[in-house]
Symmetry: C2
Amino acid sequence: MTQHRGKTGPDANVTADDVATAAGVSRWTVNRAFKKDASISPRTRDKVMEAAQTLGYVPDLRAASLASDRSNLVALLVDDFANPHKLVMMERLTRILRKHGWDTLLVNTLDRDDTGHALLNASQRRVDAVILIGIQFDDETLAAAQHARRFRKLIIFARTSQNPDTISIAVDDVAAMTEIADYVRARGYRRPFFLAGPRTVSAHLSRKETFLSRWKAHFGTEPESAEVPAYDPILAEAVVTEVLGNRPRSEMPDVLVCENDALAIGAVDVIRHKLGLRIPEDIAVTGFDDVPQCRSPNYRLTTYRQPLTEMAEYLVEVLESSEERDFDRAFTGCLVPRESA
Amino acid sequence: MTQHRGKTGPDANVTADDVATAAGVSRWTVNRAFKKDASISPRTRDKVMEAAQTLGYVPDLRAASLASDRSNLVALLVDDFANPHKLVMMERLTRILRKHGWDTLLVNTLDRDDTGHALLNASQRRVDAVILIGIQFDDETLAAAQHARRFRKLIIFARTSQNPDTISIAVDDVAAMTEIADYVRARGYRRPFFLAGPRTVSAHLSRKETFLSRWKAHFGTEPESAEVPAYDPILAEAVVTEVLGNRPRSEMPDVLVCENDALAIGAVDVIRHKLGLRIPEDIAVTGFDDVPQCRSPNYRLTTYRQPLTEMAEYLVEVLESSEERDFDRAFTGCLVPRESA
DNA sequence: AAATCTGTTGCACGCGCGTGCAAACAGCGT
DNA sequence: ACGCTGTTTGCACGCGCGTGCAACAGATTT
C-alpha cells in the first residue's frame, strides 16, 4: 500500500500498513510488535516500534476488538452518586482494571427504568462484562439483563446477589454485621436503632436482618429500625430527624447502627446539630464502608472496611478466566473502631 | 447469507444480515432502521424492528465507528478522586453526555507521568474527544497530548487553560473570586487567609491571585496564604493544623477563603475539632463548588456554585460541532451564602 | 553435509457496518 | 395510461486488525 494520504502529521490516519512499508516488514509483523506475547524477534520489534514512533501510529482497538471478538472493555453501571463510597469504588476499580489492561465505560443509570437502556448501551459497545455497583438492580432487572445479554459476564460488585446467572463479588455481610453487633454489645450499648437503606437491595436485607436477629438472639428483643429511600446523607438526615426529632431523652437509642457510612454521616450531622446531642456520649453511631470522611476529626466513625483492592484484583481474575464455574465470592473485611462508638 | 450459526438464543452473534433475511429486506435497510434520521418508510422500519426484537439484534458500535470514523465516545480523565466535587462532575457529565448519545470512557490517571499513557489508552479506542477534569495536567503534558493526538478535541472542563489548542469550558474564576472577595469584605472580615491547592493548576492561580490582588487593591495589604498539595480534605487538615495550630488567638485570621470545598471541608473540621474554635464566630470559612456536603448542618458552607448542567450541555454542543472556531467559554455561577461566613 | 528443529514472518479471509450512488418504487396531475 | 417528482431500497467497497496456517531462515544435531 502506498501513502495515499497527503498528510504526514499526527492527525493523519496512520495504519499498520503505513508502518509496515516504513519498516520494511509486513502489516502482520507490525501488529505483532504491539502484541504482548507475540512471537517476534527483538530486532524486528525495535525496527517496527521506531517506525511507528515517527509515524505516530497507535493500534486501533476498535478494529482489534471487532476482529477478535474481545474488547477488553467493561461497563461500570452506577446509579447512586450521592453515596461517597461510590467515588472510592470507582477509583479503585478503574485503577486496578487499567493496570491489567482493561478499560472502563462509565454508565450513569438514571433511574430504575433506565437500567435496560444502560445495558443496551453497553451491549452496543460489545463490552466483555458489565459490573454493577449501584443499588437499583432488582432481580427482575437482572433477569431482563440476562435474557438480552450480549456480554459474557454480569458482575455485582460489593453487593451480594442470589441470582444464579450473576457473579457476586462482595464482603460477607453476615459475618461483618455479626462482628458489628457483637462489638456494639460488648461496648455496653443496649438500645440500638438500625438505620437501613432502600429495601430493593439485598445487602440491605442481609445487614439489617443479621443485626436484628443477632440482637434478638441475645436479648430477646428486636431493635427498632427505620428506612432511608437512598444511600444519601441528606435523605438520612431527614429520616433521622423525623424518627428521633421529638423523642424524649429517655426513649432515645444509645447507638445508631447504620447500614453504611452514607447514612451514618447524615445521622451524625443531625444528631449533633439538630438534636443537640453528643457523639458517642449521648448516642453512638456505626457505619459501613470506611469512606475517607470517617477519618475526619468531625466523624471519627466506627465502621467496617471492605478489602476493595483484593476484591478488584479478584474481579480481574474473573474477567480473564474462560472457565464456566461459579465465581461468586464473599470476602472478609475488618472492623475499624473509632471514637463514634 | 444463510444462518451458519447453530445457536438462536440471545448469546448468538446476531448480525444485521440475520435480521435482514428474517425481515425480508437488505442488510442496509436493517441498519437504516436503527439510524435516527434515515430515509426509511415507517412500515419497513416496524417490520425490521420486530425481527430485530425477536432475534435479539443489537447494532455493533465498534463496527459502526470503524466504518464511519466517528465513535461517539469520549474519554474522561480524572486524577484526584479525593475531591468530592469530582463525583458531582462525573455524575453530571455522564448523565448529560448519555442523554445526547455519547458514551464515556472513565480513565483514572494515576499520577502526573501517567497522563501520557492515559491519553494513549484513549487514542487506542479512537475516542472523539478527551475531557480532562483532573488537576495534574500542566502545559507540558498538554503539549505532548496535542502532538500525539488521535482525537479531534481536547477539552478542559471546569478549569481554565491558556493553551490555544485546548478547549476550556469553565466558570469565570476572576469574576467568581471577585464576588467572594467582595462578599467577605462586605461582611466585615478584615484578616483573611487564603488556602490554595497545588500550584500546577491554572485555576489555582486565577482564584488565589484574584483574591489577593482584589484585597490588596482595597486595603493595601496582601493577605496570608498557604498551599495544600492536593484537593483532599485530609491534606487540608494537615496544612491548616500546621499553619494555624499554635498561633495565638490575636493573630488568627477571621476568615479562611478556600480555593474549593474539598479544602474548606478539611479546614472546617480542623478549626472546630483541633483548634477548638467556632465557625463563623471565631473563624469564618468560604469554599468553592457547592458540593452536596455544603448543605449539611455540619458545614453550612458559604460557597460558589458552577452551572454544571449548562456547562455540560455546552460541552455536548462543542462535541457535535464540526466547525474549527474557538470554543473556549467562561460561565458565570452564583455565590451561595450560608452560615459559615 | 544433510537432516532436523525452533523461532520468525507472510498471507487469505473475515469481523459488522457506513458511504455514496444508482435503481426501483409510489404518488400526483394531465 | 403517461411522464414527472420525491421517496425508498439495494449494493460495491472499504474501515484496521486477528486467526490459523504455511513458508522460511538460522541454529542445532547426526
